[in-house]
């Protein structure tokens, strides 16, 4: 071959190899060109397709043109550094029987077993071999070998630049990808959208693949999966199986895990099926701050290009690792943000709840009756601005028979309170109170009635937790079915899944029970409810105290009134006593001498009548003085067992004559075998005498009718309030009765409606009976008569202190 031709061939090869077309096309052209110039019958290039030790691409051509060849059924080994510059193929492939070097299935090589192999390599790297083949052995002289080496060098330069260009393009793609990912990660808040963008980008980078993102929740490995890029359900199923199969392993890896046919456990049937569709399963751990937050899995289906090599390079894995780091950071950030915003929302909610419960507490404390407090509490429980436990009901505990009665039933109003109502602070409390009261009244009448008829006879059969709530005085949540045990009707009144049981206490004793729907509240809400119901309990106690205070204030006022009156009376009494004493002496001498005069005056004279009048009037005067003295005299009681029947009979006997004269029937009904009453006999007699006197006077001053009668009865009864047996004396007349306007004055000393009365009869009776710890009552029927009942305890210890009226003496 002459120099000129060599030069022409070389320049053509340079032209071909430095063209801009695809490298495979250029190689085919070069091979064809070499065959056309009779350098060999067939020229083939064995090339390394991706980085690795095997040559997997074969490009060949002969003088007719390119040979469409399948990829070699086995891989050629890449030339080693001590690879000879040029070797006849026979030395390289000396023995067609060597299975490692010559695959018997390679028909191409079988047909052309003779030839020469030349390295495609530069100083730093080997790229493949150029093989000159023929069906018969042929020789190449040294000049031609050198020439071929120059051509090889030229082709190597083209290969290298092509690879570098490819690599640059890949690098640019990766950089672009990274840039995209970065931008997406920064722009997106929620994991789902980040993942969808990310896997989109990744899928464009690694064509024909699918991805799954597993997010581990807290410390438990309960992955939440997001998947994308599956062409059909069959694939999806395979992928999920594989992912699940690796899930336990994935938790503990710290580096990307690549599973391909070479390292999958052969026993795994899952992967046998898997590799019919996919070529690799890549698991990337997402680690943030040393904590596993999830995994990102890729499933590559890059099959047609290679049967046994990953379509991945080291850089790709590194890229995926970077991706994983970014994704992990995003996940962590999203999680933190979620937590933060959740915490924020919770704190807003809590603030609202606290504010509300504060306002409700104020409303509670402003309420003045227990019923109102209970209704407010129910309103707060059911309303949407409160605890949203609608419906709620209140059962009241009745101590006398240990039963629980339905009292109030409340459910949330349909309408939400509008904001303007909230902002009107001046009457906010009233508005709130009204809203809550309204909420507790928003129940159909029929339900309300049905509920009010409800009665739990016993609490012993109640569910344990319910009983514990009542006994432990703490709210508790129970499943709603449990209330059926309390009462069958309760279930229909309390729909829902959970029920909160809230005992309402008053002075540490159960007062009632609130049952409310608890579907929408958490255990934490329960502690707020506890806070709130504690306030309700406090308010209840307060109202009770307030009412007690009011009543004791009222009784204090009346006591003060009585005291000031009795002070007046005391002064009056003292004055009356001293006057009475001063009067008594002159009275005695007047009376004495009047009597003496009366004796000396002859009968039937006018003077006799006068002196009689004087005597009579003095007797009246003396009676007044004696009454005054006996009212203001200190009482020294001689309590002895007395037969009341006998006292009544003796007193009645004293009046027998007078009654007969006035034609008054006396009816005496004595209960036989009455126990003796411990009392002062003389004082009791005085009481009876005064009462008889009053009755007789009431009858005799009545102008009409002639059926006059007085009846006296003795009996005994049991005072339920004081749980004590008491004796009872009743004196009834059919006289003129007491005018209603005077009824409040009859026990006041010196008050009288009679023209000759002292006004001390009933006050003396009153005081004596009070001293006996008894009770005297007037049952007046104006115009028809009066019944006076006197009740006395059978026995008692003498009073230690003075009674109110004793202050008089």
């Amino acid at each position: 071959m002459d120099c000129r031709r060599k030069y022409e061939i070389l320049s053509k090869i340079i032209e071909i190899s430095s063209a801009t077309s695809q490298i495979n096309e250029r190689l085919t052209q070069a091979a064809h060109f070499l065959c056309v110039n009779d350098l060999a019958p067939t020229v083939a290039f064995y090339l390394q397709q991706r980085r690795g030790r095997r040559l997997t691409l074969r490009i060949a051509a002969d003088s007719a043109g390119s040979l469409q060849l399948p990829a070699p059924p086995y891989s050629h080994r890449l030339p080693s550094p001590d690879y000879p510059l040029c070797k006849p193929l026979t030395t390289l492939l000396p023995n067609p029987l060597d299975p490692e070097l010559l695959n018997p299935d390679d028909l191409f090589m079988k047909q052309q077993p003779y030839g020469w192999s030349l390295p495609l390599a530069d100083d730093s790297q080997a790229y493949g071999t150029m093989v000159l083949l023929g069906s018969t052995p042929f020789n190449i002289d040294n000049d031609t070998i050198l020439f071929l080496l120059v051509i090889c060098r030229q082709i190597t330069i083209a290969l290298r630049s092509s690879i570098l260009k490819n690599r640059d393009r890949l690098k640019v793609r990766r950089l672009k990808f990274l840039h995209q990912i970065g931008a997406q990660l920064n722009a997106r808040e929620d994991v789902q959208s980040v993942f969808s963008q990310l896997s989109d980008s990744a899928l464009t980078l690694f064509s024909n693949s699918a991805a799954i993102l597993n997010i581990f929740e807290s410390e438990q490995f309960l992955p939440e999966s997001i998947d994308q890029g599956f062409s059909d359900n069959e694939q999806r199923k395979l992928v999920l199986q594989a992912s699940r199969h690796q899930a336990s392993r994935a938790k503990f890896i710290s580096k990307p895990l690549v599973i391909d046919q070479n390292n999958a456990q052969p026993s795994s049937t899952i992967y046998q099926n898997f590799f019919s569709q996919f070529c690799a399963h890549i698991i990337l751990p997402l680690i943030s701050q040393g904590r596993m937050v999830g995994t990102l899995e890729f499933f590559l289906t890059d099959k047609p290009r290679s049967r046994d090599l990953l379509p991945l390079e080291k850089e790709d894995l590194e890229l995926l690792e970077i991706l994983a780091v970014h994704l992990a950071a995003t996940l962590e950030r999203t999680r933190t943000q979620n937590q933060l915003s959740a915490a924020n929302q919770t704190s807003i909610l809590r603030t609202r709840q606290l504010t509300l419960s504060h306002q409700m507490k104020n409303a509670l404390l402003a309420a003045d009756t227990p019923d109102k407090i209970i209704r407010l509490t129910l309103g707060a429980l059911v309303s949407d601005e409160g605890f949203t436990c609608s419906p709620a009901l209140y059962l009241e505990f009745q101590e006398k028979d240990n039963s629980w009665h339905g009292l109030f039933y409340a459910s949330a109003p349909g309408r939400a309170p509008n904001e303007s109502e909230h902002q009107n602070e001046s009457n906010h409390l009233d508005a709130l109170t009204n809203r809550l009261l309204e909420a507790s009244a928003q129940v159909p009448k029929q339900l309300q009635q049905e509920f009010k008829a409800l009665k739990l006879v016993t609490f012993d059969t109640a569910p344990n937790r319910c009983r514990q709530a009542v006994n432990g005085k703490k709210p508790a949540m129970i499943p709603a079915e449990f209330v059926t045990v309390l009462h069958t009707k309760l279930r229909s009144l309390l729909p829902g899944k959970k029920v909160v049981v809230i005992p309402i206490l008053s002075h540490e004793h159960p007062k009632g029970l609130i049952l409310a729907n608890a579907d929408r509240i958490s255990q934490e809400d329960l502690s707020y409810i506890t806070l709130f119901t504690d306030a309700a309990t406090l308010a209840l106690d307060n109202t009770e105290l307030y009412q007690r205070l009011q009543s004791s204030l009222a009784s204090l006022n009346s006591a003060q009134l009585r005291l000031s009156q009795s002070e007046k009376l005391m002064a009056l009494g003292e004055m009356a006593t001293s006057i009475a004493h001063e009067i008594k002496n002159p009275l005695v001498s007047i009376a004495g001498f009047a009597r003496r005069l009366h004796k000396k005056i002859p009968d039937q004279s006018r003077e006799k009548t006068y002196s009689q009048i004087i005597t009579k009037e003095i007797e009246r005067l003396e009676e007044i003085v004696n009454n005054v003295l006996s009212f203001s005299r200190p009482q020294s009681n001689k309590f002895e067992p007395q037969d009341l029947n006998q006292l009544v009979a003796e007193t009645a006997a004293l009046f027998a004559r007078e009654l007969k004269k006035l034609e008054i029937d006396l009816e005496i009904q004595l209960t036989p075998d009455m126990a003796a009453v411990e009392c002062d006999g003389n004082q009791m007699k005085q009481v009876l005498i005064n009462l008889f006197n009053n009755s007789i006077q009431a009858i005799s001053s009545k102008s009409t009718g002639n059926d006059h009668h007085i009846s006296v009865r003795t009996s005994y009864y049991c005072d339920l309030k004081k749980q004590k047996e008491k004796a009872l004396i009743e004196i009834e007349d059919n006289g003129k009765g007491i005018q209603e306007q005077f009824i409040h004055d009859i026990f006041n000393p010196f008050f009288t409606t009679k023209h000759d009365g002292t006004g001390l009869g009933l006050p003396i009776c009153h005081r004596i009976i009070l001293n006996h710890q008894g009770d005297i009552r007037i049952h007046n029927r104006e115009g028809k008569g009066v019944m006076v009942s006197v009740s006395l305890p059978f026995n008692h210890k003498a009073l230690a202190g003075p009674t109110a009226l004793n202050i008089l003496t």
Binding site: H581, K584, N585, P586, L587, V588, S589, I590, A591, G592, F593, R595, R596, T615, I618, E619, E622, N626, L629, S630, R633, P634, S636
Partner: protein, 126 residues
């Protein structure tokens, strides 16, 4: 009972009462002496040696109760009837030394009854 044998000393600061008692009791047949105060009564008792003293309690000077005690020191056998407008003193143990206690009243029946009873008890032989 021969009432003229008995001398009754009436002690009362009220002159009208003294006069009333004297007239009423003389009519009954008793011999009557009268003193206007406790001091006067104590002077008279050793002289006249009364069979009975009827005495008021509330008097200027020595009270009736103190006079009663002094009379009993002179002669513990002289019976004394206290006679007062104050019903309360009936229960007062310091008046228990008296042989009877009578509340002054318009009617003198109670006083007369008490005098009769005390005398009969004190001098059963007469």
């Amino acid at each position: 009972m021969d009432r003229q044998q008995y001398t009754i000393l009436i002690v009362d600061d009220e002159e009208n009462i003294r006069l009333l008692y004297r007239e009423e009791l003389e009519e009954e047949g008793y011999g009557i002496e009268a003193a206007a105060s406790g001091e006067e009564a104590l002077q008279m008792v050793p002289e006249i040696k009364p069979d009975l003293v009827v005495m008021d309690i509330k008097m200027p000077g020595i009270s009736g109760v103190d006079t009663l005690i002094k009379i009993k020191e002179i002669d513990k056998n002289i019976p004394v009837i206290l006679c007062s407008a104050y019903g309360d003193y009936k229960q007062d143990f310091s008046t228990w030394a008296s042989d009877a206690y009578v509340v002054k009243a318009a009617s003198l029946d109670e006083l007369k009854k008490a005098i009769r009873e005390v005398l009969e008890k004190r001098y059963p032989e007469k």
